[in-house]
């Protein structure tokens, strides 16, 4: 009942104000639904005299007899009404049209019409209706040009977000900014290798409580982000959190439950048995076997419960929230539990000249058995591979059996194979625990120095403590663990200290010209300390004791390491906007960055922009609103810490041994930051009484001076050269069309389409890659060529190109067979496809009838190719439906020529798969069209028309990822093997995609 005390406290803070005037006007302010509006502002025009509405929406103000009253409230259209009597009731309509305010870089609020670049706003409601444990996943399909790929880490796992295409070989993540302050979004443990075995640590953004979000702005282009300088090369996602609103204390309680079901399981066969007893494969005789796979996955459950209290007076507002997320994934034993506590308070002093704001957030998250993608420690390999005819139930019930020899329980599995183990052994005896504690505190003060001039100071401390442990029991497969087991522990502490000062000045110079100037500086300090323990190769002394004291030879294995990664950044920046008659705006921004990673250099990033609201300049009767915008900006991506320091070139100690450096800076060049220059043009139109809206953006971004580790010739003295080179271009268009089909008080229907197309080209890498006899050399973003797969950058190609082993074909394009009749393969790897779509299309609809609302979102991604290493491995063992169907038919159709040149139209299935499948097969056979169209979201909501016992009730039923209208790949192309830079467009035993149903109830008092 602590919340009750808080309410009383908040009420005490509530202070009203009144002023002397000639006449008293009273009235009530309500919304379209007839609900009282609390805290609406009422100001007597031309004076400072004003008041706000009380708990019941009532107000009372003394004004001059001929006065006009201005009514305003955030989220509602302003109204100005002349006083004609002593009573004045007003209805404010929701939504702000032309005077819409959006939050831009550094938290500066700007009128949307004056912006010279594209900004997409997503409201908190939009991300909260269909909730996801990682809030950022809810942005999927809601804004053009934003690509979201969920990692394979199950509930609460990290997500890969790319704005307007991949640009960088080192980092493509956008910058997340919460209430104006850049947030660390560390994400470690991403697999870069097909073998995997790393465990996704989750990302920073997934820690945010969705219910705390007021709105999200997506700044996709460099122009929008230029004020953030080097951190913002990949765009910015700005999150504005909820604050206390003055007026009656408002209590919101929200509960949601979502149930997840695995869909898109691989198509497996259960009619051909084990090849021979003891064999790993299922190329044996026909039989009838149980489907042991589909029953393996659980129904996933996610409960998100939250409540918030907010309220305040004229001079002080408070917001408090608590939320709990409890989930268990579709993978048995995978659990997540997260608590979020947030409190923020703002107070104003000295006639509101000084405003102080403070906020504290605490996040505690515990995740057990977050799924690991890749081949190692993945329960799905053993599950899918199980030779048909073996009893999975026995392996489930008896995943461990007593060993007389060791006097302990050991794993029970049919094969000793590094890429598979008993799934239940992995889930119970290779368990991992990810715990996170995170504190974020912010203080800010702003002081109104004079009319139009404000000074703002902000400070933020963000500390994250991650603790990962992995307890791997004795008798785990020998490649993955030593005989007595393996202990892994990572402790990673992240600290970010951020401070900035901002001087904001705006002035209406004369009736035509408005000036808006901001000057500021910022200081950022990042420190990441990691303590990494891994007993592998050194071994454990006692079996199954998982702590450091038990490490057998701590200096022989990969064992004990600590790292500190730290960077300091300072910046000064300024922006100026001149507006002419609210129809023409010019923007200029500049930022200068200093980074400790480049101690001797300063970098300047400019941007320029222009906007013309041409409907204000000329009379275009068919348009209600028309705006053209053009902008250019240059931003950068900083150098990784320490790289430029000669100390890093001097070697280090590993396991007590001295290791000489093997990566050196090529030709001792002076490293400079990676740079993105982008040009953007846009058009925003509204017509038919603002019912039809259309936005169009064209952009082009060139990212140069990339950091690339290129392979050095061995005789140069280094294994790798660090170069600062390359030019990756992204060009694209984004369009959104929205139409209010119906708009009346009771019934409304809005339909909107969004479209995005991005083309990427690697224009240049490094001259050393060019002078090759057989064309430009390839730069591997994944580990090179292992498992017949590589993610490759090559001059003339595109980011994300998937390379693999191809069929050897003759001049007529026919597959060539060898003397045994097996398809031959080309030596080495070649280009197969690119996973990035040609274009993406989304269609969303929202209908509402009185209190009932229906929303759905269909989106599609067209073109692109993805590769399935899972299927290649499963085919080898004969467990897929494809291999069974081929055996049923007795052949695989093929357009080939035999070694003697004769045409071949079909070959024996086992012969065919022995050539194409497996880790050393022909990956070309496992390339699939990535086109997919799906019903991504469906929600049905009901808002009770009247308050029930003073309580507003909103109930919604939600569905996510409901069905595929089309999907040719054997997995969901939205799932990515890694949320890092590499391993894109390839499936390596990722967790299947899920379909979710849920219910969301929110109450406000």
């Amino acid at each position: 009942m602590k919340s009750k005390n808080l309410l009383v406290f908040l009420l005490l803070l509530f202070v009203g104000s009144s002023l002397w005037a000639q006449q008293t006007v009273t009235g009530k302010v309500i919304d379209d639904d007839g609900q009282a509006l609390i805290g609406a502002n009422i100001i007597e025009s031309g004076t400072a005299n004003g008041t706000t509405t009380d708990l019941d929406g009532n107000y009372s103000i003394r004004v001059a007899n001929d006065a006009s009253l201005e009514f305003s409230l955030v989220g509602y259209k302003d109204q100005v009404i002349a006083v004609t009597g002593s009573t004045l009731n007003v209805t404010l309509s929701e939504g702000v049209e032309l005077g819409e305010i959006v939050v831009t870089a550094l938290g500066i609020s700007r009128e949307k019409k004056g912006l010279t670049y594209a900004v997409d706003e997503v409201s908190g409601d939009e991300v909260n209706t269909v909730k996801d444990a990682n809030v950022i996943n809810a942005l999927s399909g809601k804004t053009p040009g934003l690509t979201i790929k969920k990692g394979s880490g199950g509930v609460g796992g990290s997500t890969r977000i790319v704005l307007r295409g991949n640009k960088s070989t080192t980092n493509n993540d956008p910058l997340y900014v919460i209430d104006g302050i850049p947030m660390t979004n560390n994400r470690s443990g991403q697999n870069a290798k097909v073998f995997g075995g790393n465990i996704d640590s989750g990302d920073g953004i997934s820690n945010i409580n969705p219910d705390d979000i007021e709105s999200i702005s997506v700044l996709k282009g460099a122009s929008a982000a230029a004020l953030y300088g080097s951190q913002a090369a990949n765009g910015v996602i700005l999150i504005t959190t909820k604050k206390g609103v003055k007026g009656k204390p408002k209590v919101t309680v929200s509960s949601s439950y979502t149930s997840d079901k695995a869909i898109q399981l691989p198509e497996l066969q259960f009619r051909y048995g084990q090849t021979t007893a003891g064999d790993k494969s299922s190329w044996g005789p026909k039989g009838t076997f149980d489907d042991h796979v589909s029953g393996f996955f659980n129904k996933g459950n996610t409960f998100i419960n939250s409540f918030s209290v907010s309220g305040g007076s004229d001079n002080a507002t408070s917001y408090f929230s608590y939320s709990n997320t409890k989930a268990n994934g579709i993978l048995p034993t995978n659990e997540l539990n997260r608590h979020n506590v947030a409190f923020n308070q703002s107070m104003s002093f000295f006639d509101k000249k000084l405003e102080l704001r403070g906020s504290v957030n605490y996040i505690k998250q515990e995740v057990k058995n977050r799924p690991a993608g890749g081949l190692y420690f993945n329960p799905l390999t053993g599950l899918y591979f199980l030779p048909r005819g073996l009893d999975f139930k026995d392996y489930t019930d008896n995943y461990e059996v007593y060993s007389q020899e060791r006097n302990l329980n050991v794993q029970n599995w049919h094969a000793d194979n590094h890429i598979q183990q008993n799934p239940w052994w992995i889930l119970n005896r290779n368990q991992s625990f990810n715990n996170r504690d995170r504190y974020m505190t912010t203080l800010s003060a702003s002081y109104k120095l004079m009319d139009g001039l404000k000074l703002q100071l902000r400070g933020n401390l963000d500390k994250t403590f991650d603790h990962f442990t992995n307890e791997i029991y004795a008798s785990t497969q020998g490649t993955l663990a030593d005989p007595n087991g393996r202990f892994r522990m990572n402790r990673i502490n992240n600290t970010q200290v951020y401070g900035d000062a901002l001087l904001m000045y705006n002035k209406q110079v004369n009736s035509d010209i408005a000036l808006d100037v901001n000057v500021g500086m910022s200081h950022t300090l990042n420190n990441q300390y990691s303590f990494i323990v891994d007993s592998k190769d050194g071994g454990l002394s006692f079996a199954n004791e998982f702590y450091i004291q038990n490490l057998l030879k701590p200096l022989l294995g990969r064992s004990l390491n600590e790292y500190t990664n730290r960077e300091k950044k300072n910046a000064v920046f300024a922006s100026a906007q001149v507006g002419y008659k609210s129809m023409l705006y010019f923007d200029v921004t500049g930022r200068n960055d200093w980074s400790s990673a480049l101690p001797n250099t300063a970098y300047f990033y400019p941007s320029l922009g222009m906007t013309a609201i041409f409907t204000e300049m000329m009379d275009l009767s068919f348009l209600d609103y028309g705006k053209m915008r053009l902008s250019y900006a240059k931003v950068g991506n900083a150098v990784p810490a320490y790289l430029t320091n000669p100390r890093s070139q001097r070697g280090y100690i590993q396991n007590g041994n001295f290791i000489e450096p093997n990566t050196v800076i090529y030709n001792d060049i002076e490293l400079v930051p990676e740079e993105s220059a982008s040009l953007e043009f846009g058009l925003d139109l509204k017509a038919i009484n603002n019912k039809l809206g259309f936005n169009f953006t064209w952009y082009k971004t060139n990212t140069t001076n990339q950091f690339i580790n290129i392979k050095a010739p061995i005789g140069s003295g280094a294994s790798f050269w660090l170069v600062n080179a390359g030019d990756i271009a992204n060009k694209g268009i984004e369009m959104a069309l929205s139409y209010d089909v119906l708009k009346s008080d009771k019934l409304s229907w809005n339909t909107s389409f969004n479209y995005a197309k991005n083309t990427n080209e690697v224009i240049e890498l490094h001259p050393r890659f060019d002078n090759q006899e057989d064309g430009p050399a390839a730069f591997y973003l994944s580990n090179e060529a292992a498992n017949s797969y590589g993610m490759v950058l090559q001059k003339g190609g595109a980011f994300g190109d998937v390379w693999g082993v191809k069929f050897m074909r003759n001049d007529a394009g026919k597959i060539m067979l060898d003397t045994d009749g097996k398809p031959r393969k080309e030596p080495g790897l070649g280009f197969l496809g690119n996973p990035n779509p040609d274009f993406a299309l989304g269609w969303s609809n929202s209908l509402s009838y009185q209190g009932v609302s229906l929303n759905f979102l269909i989106d599609g991604s067209f073109g692109g190719q993805v590769l399935s290493i899972s299927n290649a491995l499963m085919d080898e063992l004969g467990v897929t439906e494809a291999t069974a169907a081929a055996r049923d038919a007795g052949k695989v159709e093929i357009d080939a020529v035999a070694a003697d040149g004769s045409a071949v139209s079909s070959i024996d299935p086992q012969l065919y798969y022995s050539a194409v499948s497996g880790r050393n097969g022909i990956t070309e056979a496992y390339l699939y069209d990535a086109t997919n169209i799906r019903l991504r979201e469906l929600s049905l909501g009901y808002k009770f028309p009247n308050r029930v016992m003073g309580t507003g009730i909103k109930l919604s039923l939600i569905g996510r990822n409901l069905m595929f209208f089309k999907n040719n790949a054997p997995f969901d192309p939205d799932i990515t093997a890694s949320t890092g830079v590499g391993l894109q467009g390839v499936d390596i035993f990722s967790l299947p995609s899920t379909r979710s149903f849920g219910v969301n109830l929110s109450l406000d008092f």
Binding site: N570, Y642, R647, G651, F658, P713, I714, G717
Partner: protein, 527 residues
Amino acid sequence: MTIKYKFLGFLLVFLTLTMIPTGCNKDFEEYNQNPTALTNDDLKKDYRIFEPFKTMIRGIYKHTPPWQTQLQQNLIGDVYSGYMMPPTPFAGNSNNMTYNLVDGWNTWAFNISYANVMSPASFIEKNGKDFPEFLAWLKIVKVEGMHRLADMFGPIMYSQYGQLDADGAIAYDCLPDLYETFFRELDEGIAGLEAFQATGKPSPFGRFDEVYTGDIDKWIKFANTLRLRLAIRVSKIDPALAKTQGEKSLTHPLGIITVNDENFTVKNDIDHPVNTINTAWNDVRMGAPMESILVGYEDPRLPKFFEPATQTNVAGEYKGIRQGIDISSKDTYIGFSKIAPLGNVQLMVAAEAQFLVAEAALRGWNTNGVTAQQAYENAVQISFDQYGLGDASTYLNDDTKKALPYVDPNNAANSLPAGDPHISTITVKWNDGDDFETKLERIITQKWIAMFPDGQEAWSEYRRTGYPKLFPVMVNNSGGEIDTEAGIKRVKYISGEYSLNPKGVKSGVDCLGGPDTGGTPLWWDVD
């Protein structure tokens, strides 16, 4: 007006504030230092800057992990010398053994020497300038490490290592130049060590020296022996140079290594990698020529080198696998003789030194009066001593025992009958009346036995002299590049060099004297 001034005042204050960041940048240098990386000052303490000597000494013959040893030598020199042969039909039996040179393997053979010898050496050259005694020592270790690579590939990057030319390429050294450099560096190394000894200071090498624990006399003797080895190597192509260089060693006051205590063995607790390849992986077995010669001589060293076979029809006998035969399953030959457990890695023995003296005497060099026979018999006795086998005179007086015909119990096609020209006919006992070639064959055949298991050096001497007689491959997958009868002459350059250093590797091919194949003999390999 006042308001404007006020504003300007604020602006001034603000601009001053904004200057702070530029002032704050002062600690950037310190902040940009990785606390877990080392500085030169850190490395000077306890001479740790010379730590890379350990890497070098362990990298001449890569000790660990064993798979690197396997690729560096066990699937190349150890097989081509006739010492060993894998029972494993790697890559469908089309691999180094059957003369289809596997680029992915040989890449390691090439790169290991650069990563483990040249790279640490260049680190020491750069950072240890103040310590000439270490630099002198370095030269000797470097030559020992890199002559083995040159013996494998031919021209290699050495003098131009780490130096990009105008096209960004690293040039290769042709063998005549390379040998000149080797000889010069050995001279400089010996002179540098002698100069340090003259100062009377104690040796600082001990903590990094897993071979001679810092004993500078032993290093000088080793360097002399190495110079003699290289001189003998070029004795056919450039007799004058060979004589000059060889006599320098033979007449040096400290001379060459003479007792087993001076053998170049690497003393550490790392298990010999061949033990893992041999027992854990079952990827290597005795070579057929070893069986034929050692069993024929009833050589007492046989049980020291190999274990009896376990395959039922030959159990208890010593059985070797013939190189380059048709193998379809690893199980076929897995029961042949394993290598007996090996101790420390051994790269030069005193016996070899005496065999070198024997050949020098044969070639008429100044050996301080030691005759070829004396050196030969002395060498065999030293080898017996090394294995604790007592007096060798019975063995040395045997003039009847010869190598035996070879029988493959699993595939008769691989057998070599009595009288086959590939079966050695040389006996043990020295006969001063024999002609030069017979004497040479006797010396080299015995040296071949004494040097076991260093297949790399044995293969080099086989190519130079044609001794001992070895068996040709049965399956030749070289596509005509390697002549079956002449056998493999070198390892092909690696694809990584063709892609990353194309101009450089071309400079190597240009002075190879033939195409870049396994069939082109090296400079010193002449008849």
